[in-house]
Each structure stands twice: as structure tokens, then as C-alpha cells.
């Protein structure tokens, strides 16, 4: 049996599979389906300073091997999150990775400050795929400087590891990754959704009320693997939490060998609420079948010049 204990930025987690932000609320709704403490942890839906009603419906469109969403970060705000959601996770021994989102570096800093003494909080994931009100709505994640400014602002307040969640909708992902790490990110989460549009052929109008939405699901898996590959090749010491279309243990294994240290399961949870636990169990079986004793042995393995695995799945060497 492979030891699933997973280390990320100096912290130890029960396993290498996490929920993905925006796909598990704050965990509680998935409790009927699997033991939340059995997986690496719950990455919460991005929390903002104030309660937020989100966008008008329709907010969702199914697309080939994926879906678009334009939820608009609906959520209760940091006060309710701290009084209700986070204690619920802490009481159950669930590792919480809190995703934060804001419209200015100051808002992110304020959120990190509010989270400082929160019990049960393992890490912060900084969702930088939000429009920056101070630069005419440009998304932080699309600018080397804006991304770094947000990460630095959170770094200055946070006493726990922070992961910056990167958008694939950029020209030079590695430069953004470097700037986030230089600004103090302990690790990188990738990828966020890709921007897309769906048209209803009956009405000849956009399906989503917001017109554009974030594409997720298996459709974006090759993009996620490409991003992880490029960033791991450039920054091999930086831990990556990989996500983007993971729905099986084999998918998770592909992410690990591409360079991720752990994975988040997102859209697959919508079709199968047990998906995070199932993917972790399937990944364990894949690793065991190949004779790997630990998760860390496979991280980045696909980058080796020689084929690491013989045909038939047995481990070389």
C-alpha cells in the first residue's frame, strides 16, 4: 500500500486529493457522501469581505466534456464564514484551505488579517482571477505586477502557507508564476477556469446571463497538464496544487507526474459527490499497482529523460 501522506509547503495532509474551490461550497454539503477528513483537505469556495449575491441566472451551461459557470462568487462574506463554516470544518478535523477573493490588494490583505487566528485553517489559496477595481477591471492573474501585489499583500498578513491560484488565460504563465513566488507564495494552484461562451441554438443568444463563464471539466485537462508541466519545469522546487478536469485516479496520477504535488477535484464533484474520496482511492490503487511507496516519488516523474515506467506498468530500475 502506498503511503498517501502528502506534504505541501511544510504541512502534512492525510492525502493528495483536495476539493477544488467553488466546487465544494465550504465542505458541509459533501459530508453525507464521504469522510471529509480522509482526503487532503477542503478548499473552500472563495470568500470575500462582504456577503455577495452573485450573478443573475442562468449561471451554468453544459459544454462538451465540460461546463461553463458564471456564479459571481456568491457567498456569505468573511464574518459568517468565520463564525459558521470554518468552525464546522475544524470541529471535524478537516484540513481547511480557505480561498480568498477581493477587488483590490487591500481587500485580500484584510481577508488574510481576518483569517490570522482562525482555528483549523491550514493554508490560504489566493484566487487572483478577479477583476482589479484599481486597474479598470483587469484580472489580477493576468498581470505580473498585479498578481505579485496581491500575493505580497496576503504574505504580509498571513502566518500560514499561501498558494496563488493561476489563470491559464495568459500569454506567459511562467512569468506570472515566478512573480507570485517572488512575492511570497509558498505554492501555486493551477489552473483556474478558462473563459468561454455558450450560445443557445434555439434562441441564438448567449446561454449565460453574464455572457462569459469559466470553462471547467475534462475539456480543460490537457491545458492544465500543459500549465503544470511548464511551471514545474521552470520552478521545480515550488509545490503545485493541480486542478482542471480531474475525475479519476489515473487523471490524478497524470497531474502528479506532470509536476503537481497534490490535486483538487472540482467539476467531477457535481456529477459524483463522492468524487474527491473516490479519486484518492483510485489514485492509491494506481500508485500501489506501480510499486510506489509514497506520493512524493511520482511528482514530476514525466519530466525525466528516460521512461520511468516499463511497459505493462511495472516500475523501472
Amino acid at each position: 500500500m502506498t503511503d498517501l501522506t502528502t506534504r505541501l509547503a511544510g504541512l502534512e495532509f492525510a492525502g493528495p486529493v483536495f476539493t477544488a474551490s467553488g466546487c465544494a461550497a465550504a465542505g458541509r454539503e459533501l459530508a453525507p457522501y464521504f469522510d471529509l477528513a480522509s482526503i487532503g483537505g477542503v478548499v473552500t469556495k472563495s470568500v470575500m469581505l462582504a456577503p455577495r449575491a452573485g450573478r443573475a441566472t442562468p449561471r451554468m451551461a453544459e459544454t462538451p466534456s465540460g461546463m461553463l459557470n458564471s456564479i459571481g462568487l456568491q457567498g456569505p462574506g468573511i464574518d459568517t464564514f468565520l463564525s459558521t463554516d470554518l468552525p464546522w470544518l475544524a470541529q471535524r478535523g478537516v484540513a481547511a484551505v480557505v480561498s480568498i477573493a477581493g477587488h483590490s490588494a487591500e481587500e485580500y490583505a484584510a481577508l488574510a488579517r481576518r483569517l490570522r487566528d482562525a482555528p483549523g485553517l491550514a493554508m490560504i489559496e489566493v484566487n487572483i482571477s478577479c477583476p482589479n477595481v484599481e486597474s479598470r477591471g483587469r484580472v489580477f492573474a493576468c498581470s505580473v505586477d498585479d498578481a505579485a501585489a496581491v500575493v505580497a499583500a496576503v504574505r504580509a498578513e498571513a502566518e500560514i502557507p499561501i498558494f496563488a491560484k493561476l489563470s491559464p488565460d495568459v500569454t506567459d504563465l511562467v512569468s506570472i508564476a515566478r512573480s507570485c513566488v517572488a512575492a511570497g507564495a509558498d505554492g501555486l494552484s493551477m489552473i483556474n477556469t478558462l473563459l468561454g461562451v455558450a450560445i443557445d441554438p434555439r434562441t441564438l443568444r448567449p446561454v449565460l446571463s453574464a455572457v462569459t463563464g469559466g470553462l471547467s471539466g475534462p475539456a480543460i485537462k490537457p491545458v492544465a497538464l500543459r500549465c503544470i508541466w511548464q511551471v514545474h519545469a521552470a520552478l521545480p522546487e515550488v509545490p503545485i496544487l493541480g486542478m482542471g478536469g480531474v475525475r479519476s485516479g489515473r487523471d490524478a496520477l497524470e497531474f502528479l507526474v506532470a509536476g503537481a504535488s497534490a490535486v483538487s477535484v472540482g467539476t467531477a464533484t457535481f456529477a459524483d459527490p463522492t468524487a474527491p474520496a473516490r479519486v484518492q482511492a483510485e489514485l492509491a490503487a494506481e500508485l500501489t499497482a506501480r510499486g510506489f511507496a509514497t506520493v512524493s516519488e511520482v511528482i514530476g516523474l514525466a519530466h525525466l529523460k528516460e521512461a520511468p515506467v516499463r511497459e505493462g506498468g511495472a516500475r523501472a530500475g
Binding site: 461550497a25 454539503e29 441566472t57 449561471r59 459557470n69 459524483d272 459527490p273
Partner: protein, 274 residues
């Protein structure tokens, strides 16, 4: 053990019922906890499918360890479900959602169903009848072949009124044309169907001060409360409007709490509206 449950259910039966398909699945755990107004989420397309979301349907009935859903074939997902054979497995989650609140004793109840919305009213009628209630059912559809659950309604309800838009069966018109005539002496109104119909039903019930419960139809991605897709504006006890999930806080809401005028929008006075 308490639900909801996620099971691989064997198909017990699949058959055409008028313009609809009835799918019967062996799911003892779900059947044991099902209540009128609950729904289930069915995976479609098999393990390597390009259809990544489940299809959610109200329960049209349950018993003997099986659950029944009724649906129209509208796309590849429902087509896949309609082409299942007995013995095939379908991934099912349920029972999901907040069901109808039942009265503690006998009442005079008016149940209004439009299109596929008539299906979940059958188990509701059964439950109300078991409580000694008088059940008046009103079922509407665009035309005769789109009527659903009429025969079962005749078996379980004290009266059944039919409307069709084109007059091909029952009264010509909408259920909202026939509803006022059924409200005399009514204690409660229950509705399930398209949002526009529910708006009329809730409005007509409120006009004669009869409480109503409506089961809304909203597009859902997950069905379990994690995706925040299926929200609609609902008035709270504190008089404030919140965007609530049809899959978790609903699909059944008090008719006077749904901001029908603002469905599809985020009203400016909603908590957290920007």
C-alpha cells in the same frame, strides 16, 4: 443511516408514457427516505461520457425498493436515459432537496401541476389522502399528449380537473383559469411546474389568503448544494431577500416567499447584491 445516498441503481423498467418516459430504478435506500417533493440526480452517458452534469428529476413515485422518474427526451442526456434497458446500471443520488411540508391533519388541498410538474404531485396526493385530506387535482399541459399522470391522479385524488392550451383535452386554457374555481374552502395549495405557472398559482392562492407551497424548476448542475447554479430570490423571515439554492433550500418554497417578479435576476435589495 440517513441520506442522501449515492448508488448505482439497476434499471427495473423503462417505458413510454404518452409524450414522456418513465424510468424505474432499484434504489432501496433512496426509496426508504423519499418524501413528496424530493428529487434525484441521475448521471448520464456512462463513465467516459462528454456529458459531465447529472440530470435532476422530481420523484414521481417510489415503493418496493424502487423509485420512478418521468421525463421528456429533450437532449442527449435524457435520450441516453430513455434508451436504458432493464438490468443496466444508472448512478443515482437522492433523495435530494427540501420536500413539501405536510399538514398534521386532514385538510382540503388543491394540487396544481403543469407539464412534467404533475408527476411529483401523485405521491403528494397519496400522502395527503393518507392524512384524511380532500385532494383536488388540477393538471395542465400544452395539449392532450403532453398531459402527465392523469390516470394516476384519478386513482388518488377526490377530483381531477384538466386544462390544455389548445382544448384538446379538458378545459381550454391554463391551470390559472381553472384554479379560482377550485379554491373554495381550500386550506392549502401545492404547485409544481414552470415558473410562470407557479407565479399564477401562488398569486391566486394569496389573493384568497390560502397558503401555497411551490416546487420550482431551476437548472441545476450538482443537485447537492455545492455549485450555486440553481439560485432564485427568496424572501426570508426577516423580510430580506436572499439568493437561495433550489436544490437544497428548495425545490419547495412557500409561494409567498418566491420573488417571482425577480426570478432570473439578482434584485437590487438582495443580501450581497452589488
Amino acid at each position: 443511516m440517513s441520506g442522501p445516498f449515492q448508488v448505482a441503481a439497476e434499471v427495473v423498467g423503462v417505458r413510454r408514457v404518452g409524450a414522456y418516459v418513465a424510468l424505474i430504478l432499484a434504489a432501496p435506500s433512496i426509496a426508504a427516505e423519499a418524501r413528496p417533493g424530493h428529487f434525484v440526480a441521475l448521471s448520464v452517458g456512462g463513465p467516459a461520457t462528454s456529458m459531465v452534469l447529472r440530470r435532476c428529476f422530481s420523484l414521481a413515485g417510489w415503493g418496493n425498493g424502487a423509485v420512478t422518474v418521468l421525463f421528456s427526451v429533450l437532449g442527449h442526456g435524457t435520450d441516453w436515459l430513455a434508451s436504458r434497458q432493464p438490468g443496466d446500471l444508472v448512478e443515482v443520488g437522492g433523495p435530494l432537496g427540501t420536500p413539501f411540508a405536510l399538514p398534521s391533519g386532514p385538510q382540503t388541498c388543491v394540487l396544481v401541476g403543469g407539464g412534467t410538474g404533475a408527476a411529483p404531485l401523485i405521491p403528494l396526493a397519496v400522502a395527503l389522502t393518507e392524512l384524511g385530506s380532500e385532494v383536488r387535482m388540477l393538471i395542465g399541459a400544452a395539449r392532450a399528449e403532453k398531459l402527465m399522470a392523469v390516470e394516476q391522479a384519478r386513482l388518488v385524488a377526490d377530483s381531477v380537473t384538466i386544462t390544455t392550451d389548445d382544448g384538446s383535452a379538458g378545459l381550454r386554457g391554463w391551470v390559472s383559469d381553472a384554479l379560482p374555481g377550485l379554491l373554495a374552502g381550500a386550506d392549502a395549495v401545492y404547485g409544481c411546474g414552470p415558473m410562470r405557472m407557479l407565479r399564477s398559482v401562488a398569486g391566486l392562492a394569496a389573493a384568497v389568503e390560502v397558503p401555497s407551497q411551490v416546487a420550482v424548476e431551476e437548472a441545476m448542475a450538482c443537485g447537492v448544494g455545492v455549485c450555486m447554479t440553481c439560485v432564485l430570490p427568496i424572501l426570508g423571515d426577516d423580510g430580506r431577500t436572499r439568493m437561495l439554492r433550489a436544490c437544497l433550500e428548495g425545490p419547495v418554497f412557500a409561494g409567498d416567499r418566491v420573488r417571482f417578479d425577480a426570478v432570473g435576476t439578482v434584485p437590487a435589495d438582495a443580501v450581497g447584491a452589488s
